[in-house]
């Protein structure tokens, strides 16, 4: 279990970040879905993904888990940035959305999660190489 790096166990750190992100999405999900279905469905899928990621990491997820987590969270961060930077009426709202505190906090957590998962992925790759040698 775990890696030989110093500091907090990167798996547990990543799992904790995934659960926090999931918690935020679950918190806003009822309000979002009640007002508009597509963003609500998006929040639901993100919450499912983060929950699966967090649970998988807690119980020793490997490199595929890390890849899935990076992909998921890069997508989530991109959607957040995109909807705040430009207006794409065909896909999202006809306006740029406001930068609100909770959304910004969730995005920072997801960026931290991406970094943490990338470090975990590298560490796992090193470990695999060592084991093969």
């Amino acid at each position: 279990m775990g890696t030989k790096d110093h500091g907090p166990d990167p798996r547990r750190l990543a799992a904790a970040l995934a659960f926090v992100s999931q918690g935020i999405h679950l918190w806003v999900l009822p309000g979002q879905l009640a007002a508009a279905l597509p963003p609500g469905a998006f929040f639901f899928l993100v919450a499912v993904g983060q929950g699966l990621l967090g649970a998988s990491l807690l119980f020793g997820g490997g490199r595929w888990t890390a890849r899935f987590g990076v992909l998921l969270n890069v997508c989530v961060v991109l959607v957040w940035v995109l909807t705040r930077a430009v207006s794409i009426p065909q896909l999202f709202e006809p306006v740029k959305l406001p930068v609100e505190g909770l959304g910004a906090a969730a995005t920072l957590i997801e960026v931290a999660l991406v970094v943490s998962l990338m470090r975990l992925g590298r560490s796992l790759r090193r470990q695999e190489r060592l084991e093969r040698a």
Binding site: F19, L91, E93
Partner: protein, 515 residues
């Protein structure tokens, strides 16, 4: 593969965190949406109640040639569905509110008292009024105990002029006779507040109209048509995200494109009946619905068809009458029509149908040709003098505005911008003439404050059959219209917006400032 305790724990954790928790959270809004969409009004036998006529407001005094009225906006219980009581928010506690009868060039001042638990703003729809009396959405009358406007949208910070408990609205009435109406216009919450009853008619008359032989008196009938849904206990059902109307604006997702009720009310009564003589009657039709458009037709149609002779539009009398087989009325539009019941034998029951409706909403009311009577009215070939439309050659500026509803729900916008009280989107010069091109996706009733306009073209072709005369609201069902506007009256800041009230509340509104 051997299933270990660790595997089981992992599977359990993944199922719990990855599925059970999100599904649990999902069940809350899904349950709310399902319950909301399932609300159906109690059954009402159609044509069982007589058509009520809203009371006429009486001035409290006349001073300096102006009639002064007082209205108290308050909650009251009213029997709308037979046998049930509905809490309405009404002007003087009635729904629709009292009709104001005004004369051209005779000013009216209405002191509006707010005894409701929420801020209000009153807009005289179609009135050419000074900006401070126009009912700008953030110019609020705060109720007792409130010290701010409580705007929920981020851009709507307390930007308006707030009055406490009452405000005097001045209407100069310096324009042609027309069927106007007044209604609530509170920022972010116009939809639910109009829905609860804050709307009434304002009939402006003048000597030109007096001189015409059109049906008068009891044969000049207001028809305020709207749709509502009721709970089993008789209360109005409106799917607000925040039913207290204090904090969060907007509606549940299923009503994002407009609140469509399942019960059609005329003058506040469900599918009423009106007994008429076999003579001409003038009906001032107002579509006071939040979002529903109607295609009104008579069933059976009279021999030879063309039962409706349109004599007026939003901005008053037409130059010449326009016959119609049916009347398509978008929210906030008014159609002044004459129906000649002598084309039916006495005893005929004639339904006013809504050809766009389904089930219960396909019927509006019923007329019964109950008796014979000598005809005293007629529709002359010439109704009003030259309407004095602006000359397109005088146009100084052409502006384009695209109305687009949120694809994923939520906010709606004009030219990709949501409403911001601090942003001016057009600065026409006082006295100038402009062409405004409006594009709508999908369908939006476009309304301008302060001014009336003439529809020049629709979808690149000639104006449609319902575009005649001076208008202040024009229906777009996709496509575009070009309107010719002369900015006259006052300098100041006014709004233009979609009159689908749910779109309006979700910020499909913008400012113009006459300079």
């Amino acid at each position: 593969m051997k299933i270990t305790r660790r595997h089981l724990l992992k599977m359990g954790a993944m199922a719990g965190a990855g599925l059970a928790l999100p599904l649990g959270a999902l069940s809350i809004p899904v349950g709310r949406l399902a319950a909301s969409a399932a609300v159906r009004s109690p059954g009402v036998e159609p044509f069982a109640v007589p058509l009520p006529i809203p009371p006429v407001a009486r001035p409290v005094h006349t001073r300096g040639g102006a009639d002064h009225y007082e209205m108290v906006q308050k909650a009251a219980m009213q029997e709308i569905l037979p046998g049930l009581k509905t809490e309405v928010w009404g002007y003087d506690g009635v729904f629709p509110g009292p009709t104001v009868e005004a004369r051209r060039d005779r000013p009216v001042v209405v002191r509006q008292w707010n005894e409701l638990p929420v801020p209000v703003s009153v807009h005289l729809h179609g009135g050419k009024t000074p900006p401070e009396s126009d009912g700008y959405p953030s110019d609020l009358i705060l109720p007792k105990g409130h010290d701010h406007g409580a705007h929920a949208h981020a851009t709507h910070a307390a930007s308006g002029k707030h009055a406490h408990m009452f405000k005097d609205y001045s209407y100069p009435n310096a324009h042609r006779a027309a069927t106007l109406w007044y209604h609530d216009h509170r920022m972010d919450f116009t939809g639910p507040q109009v829905y609860r009853g804050l709307a009434g008619m304002y009939v402006l008359r003048d000597e030109v109209e007096d001189g015409l032989p059109l049906p008068k008196g009891e044969k000049d009938v207001p028809l305020v048509i709207c749709d509502r849904t009721f709970r089993d206990d008789g209360s109005f059902y409106y799917p607000s995200l925040d039913p207290t109307l204090q904090e969060e604006p907007g509606v549940l997702a299923h009503a994002a494109n407009g609140m469509f009720g399942d019960t059609v009310l005329v003058n506040g009564a469900p599918w009423p009946q009106l007994e008429v003589s076999n003579t001409m009657h003038r009906f001032r039709i107002l579509n006071a619905s939040n979002a529903r458009s109607y295609d009104l037709a008579l069933d059976p149609p009279p021999p030879g068809g063309r039962p409706f002779v349109q004599v007026g539009s939003d901005g008053g009398l037409l130059e010449t009458p326009v016959p119609h087989d049916s009347i398509v009325a978008a929210p906030a539009e008014r159609f002044d029509v004459v129906v000649d019941f002598s084309r039916y034998p006495v005893g005929t029951e004639v339904k006013l149908k809504n050809l766009r409706g389904e089930g219960k909403t396909s019927e509006v009311m019923r007329f019964v040709v109950a008796r014979g009577e000598r005809e005293e009215g007629s529709v002359p070939e010439r109704l009003a003098p030259d309407l004095d439309f602006p000359d397109p050659d005088d146009v100084e500026v052409t502006r384009r505005f695209q109305f687009i509803a949120g694809v994923v729900g939520g906010m709606s916008a004009i030219n990709m911008k949501v409403f911001d009280p601090g942003r001016i989107d057009a600065r026409p010069r006082l006295g100038s003439t402009e062409i405004w091109e409006i594009f709508a996706d999908p369908s939006h009733p476009f309304h301008m404050h302060l001014v009336h306009f003439k529809v020049l073209s629709r979808d690149g072709g000639p104006p449609g059959p319902y575009d005649a005369g001076w208008k202040d609201t024009v229906s777009l069902e996709g496509g575009s219209v070009r309107v010719l506007v002369r900015f006259e009256g006052w300098r100041g800041k006014y709004v233009f917006h979609c009159h689908n009230l749910e779109h309006e509340d979700m910020m499909m509104m913008a400012n113009f400032e006459v300079v």
